[in-house]
């Protein structure tokens, strides 16, 4: 059998190219459409800032800035209403502190175990199970905070004067919620600490524990800090757990066994009622929302910065 090379019919190729489904003109349109898709995320950000800003401006026409930022009483529905945000901020800080007190030691110990101690097989079972906690809807955690933590644990353990709605029950479930965030990100940071550092420490006679605590943990510190900052941002923004379990009574206290209200808890309360547009009640939602937005944004930016710092050093 002989191979005969046929001359190339350029005309045919031309025809095929002409028949191609997307002409050059179409491509320009497609490109423009894709770029339009990408701008939707930018528009979303602008819309958030605009919406929060517009109604906040209206709010601050009714309530002066010093009243909002310097007064400590938050009584929007009282006959003589007072809009001092510090009671709501204290509620949020309360649950942030107590959830971190619970979640940081457990989360870091889990990270150290997964990164430094666990066999590969154990790790492959434990890590997905821990991360499964991150996929549980928060309303489910809220149900447990109220029914399980308060009624089945706190009241039997600490007595019946524990209020039915308290910051501690919410903090316990918030801690469960952020546990995978802290454990997983810290573990990633610890795993990417170079082996040399560990081996140098072993060579000097350090034990496994000493290597983990005095070499790996400090070397992974920026990753660990980033994980905690992200966890704080999540706690600050979480709504259902605190709205259901922590109560709806603004309270300037950091005591875990008190009934409180967080910023998000107040926002949900307004959302549940049918506050009419134009009322100070409706506008206060956006003023509190602005404060919440700025706080979570700052924590997220700080976390990104720490992750970047970590990558710069080791990866």
């Amino acid at each position: 059998m002989s191979v005969v090379s046929e001359p190339l019919h350029t005309g045919n190729v031309h025809g095929a190219l002409r028949r191609r489904p997307f002409s050059r003109w179409n491509e320009t349109v497609i490109k423009a459409l894709l770029a339009a898709c990408a701008t939707i995320s930018l528009v979303t950000t602008f819309a958030i800032i605009f919406v929060l800003g517009e109604e906040s401006v209206a709010f601050f026409r009714e309530v002066s800035l010093p009243d909002f930022f310097l007064k400590t009483r938050w009584r929007p529905l009282a006959g003589n209403p007072s809009f001092g945000i510090w009671e709501l901020v204290a509620g949020t800080v309360n649950v942030v502190i107590w959830s971190l007190v619970i979640a940081v030691p457990i989360g870091l110990a889990s990270a150290i175990y997964l990164s430094e101690y666990a066999q590969k097989r154990t790790r492959n079972i434990l890590k997905p199970l821990l991360e499964a906690l991150a996929g549980v809807p928060t309303v489910v955690y809220a149900y447990f905070a109220l029914n399980f933590v308060t009624l089945d644990i706190l009241r039997p353990a600490l007595g019946n004067d524990v209020p039915i709605f308290n910051a501690l029950a919410a903090s316990v479930m918030l801690a469960v919620m952020i546990l995978p965030t802290i454990a997983s990100i810290s573990e990633d940071a610890m795993s990417s600490v170079p082996r040399d550092l560990r081996e140098a420490a072993y060579g000097l006679g350090a034990t496994k524990l000493e290597v983990a605590i005095r070499v790996v943990l400090p070397a992974a510190l920026s990753g660990v800090i980033a994980s905690i900052l992200l966890a704080v941002a999540r706690v600050v923004g979480e709504t259902m757990i605190v709205a259901i379990a922590a109560g709806s009574t603004p309270n300037l206290t950091l005591w875990p066994l008190s009934t409180i209200q967080t910023m998000t808890g107040f926002m949900l309360q307004v959302g549940l009622g049918d506050a009419a547009r134009g009322t100070v009640d409706y506008q206060s939602l956006f003023a509190v929302g602005s404060v919440l937005f700025v706080i979570t944004l700052l924590f997220n930016i700080a976390a990104t910065w720490f992750v970047g710092r970590f990558r710069e050093v080791y990866v």
């Binding site: 997307f22 490109k31 175990y113 906690l133 709504t239």
Partner: protein, 292 residues
């Protein structure tokens, strides 16, 4: 030349340090089991409280003042509507954004801003999206508390997640495939449409399913746009008011009666089965296409 085996055994302070180190393994193991223990405890508590309420009636009944007659019918249908609408709306936008960032965008300041913005949007709390939905979709565009308003709100909320997942899937497609297509004369868009997208599809679908499973549990944002309502009819169009399973759980949880607590637990079982099935589906798709 035979030598006696040398046994190295530490003594004094070194022995103590080694003992502490060995003991620490159990401490750290114990800590990492706390999360797993809580997971199983929650599963056990929910099933023991709520399993008794699970029945076909519980799924097919409308909500009611009487706990024994109340069911998930309208909230389940509402959830399916909102999630369906969310997929339809966010899928093209997420894929479009990801393709633009990975394949078409000029490497300039604008691209940096888009990427940075997506990362920050991913950290915005869901209740802020609820406030956005309330002001923009419910009030400004006049959708009120309808499925439409819910779908738009949830779509924007999961957009950063779906875009980032799609970007990763597109990046996984080897550049040799792009080079091959371009060398054979395909245009940039033909390369993306016929070669990059089919290769990235499993990763994109996995990412979308995971985002939807997150959206399935969303409560606060939908309460903000007014979905905390009593619905006793089957939704047949996106222009109707609605409620969802997580909101029904919230509704039953905040009531003091024990019977409603059982309803909440039963509804949690239904929600968790749905969420876990979606996660399982995502895992199956990922594994299946990893091999080929």
């Amino acid at each position: 030349m035979a030598t006696a085996p040398v046994v190295l055994r530490a003594s004094g302070r070194v022995a103590v340090r080694q003992a502490v180190s060995r003991a620490s393994a159990y401490l750290f193991l114990g800590a990492s089991l706390v999360g797993v223990f809580v997971l199983f405890l929650l599963a056990y508590e929910t099933i023991s409280t709520g399993a008794g309420r699970l029945s076909w009636d519980f799924i097919s009944n409308y909500p009611s003042r009487f706990a024994e007659r109340a069911g998930l019918r309208s909230s389940a249908i509402g959830s399916i509507w909102v999630l369906g609408l969310t997929v339809v709306m966010s899928l093209p936008i997420a894929i479009g954004t990801a393709i633009w960032i990975e394949e078409f965008a000029p490497q300039n300041k604008f691209l940096t801003i888009v990427k940075l913005n997506l990362a920050n949007l991913a950290g915005v709390p869901s209740i802020i999206y609820g406030v956005l939905g309330l002001a923009v979709f419910s009030r400004f565009f006049g959708f009120g508390s309808t499925i439409m308003a819910g779908g738009f709100t949830v779509s924007l909320m999961i957009l950063p997640m779906t875009v980032i997942a799609s970007q990763e899937a597109i990046r996984q497609v080897p550049s040799s495939i792009r080079d091959g297509a371009l060398a054979l004369g395909a245009s940039q868009w033909q390369t993306v449409w016929y070669h990059v997208l089919p290769g990235a599809a499993p990763g994109i679908i996995t990412g979308i399913i995971l985002a939807v499973s997150r959206a399935a549990g969303e409560t606060a944002a939908l309460i903000m746009i007014g979905a905390f309502t009593f619905i006793a009819f089957d939704n047949t169009s996106p222009n109707e008011d609605f409620t969802t399973i997580p909101i029904q759980i919230y509704n039953w949880t905040i009531r003091p009666q024990e019977a409603f607590r059982q309803n909440a637990a039963a509804a949690i079982i239904v929600l968790m089965v749905a969420v876990l099935s979606l996660n399982l589906l995502a895992a199956v798709i990922r594994e299946r296409f990893r091999r080929s």
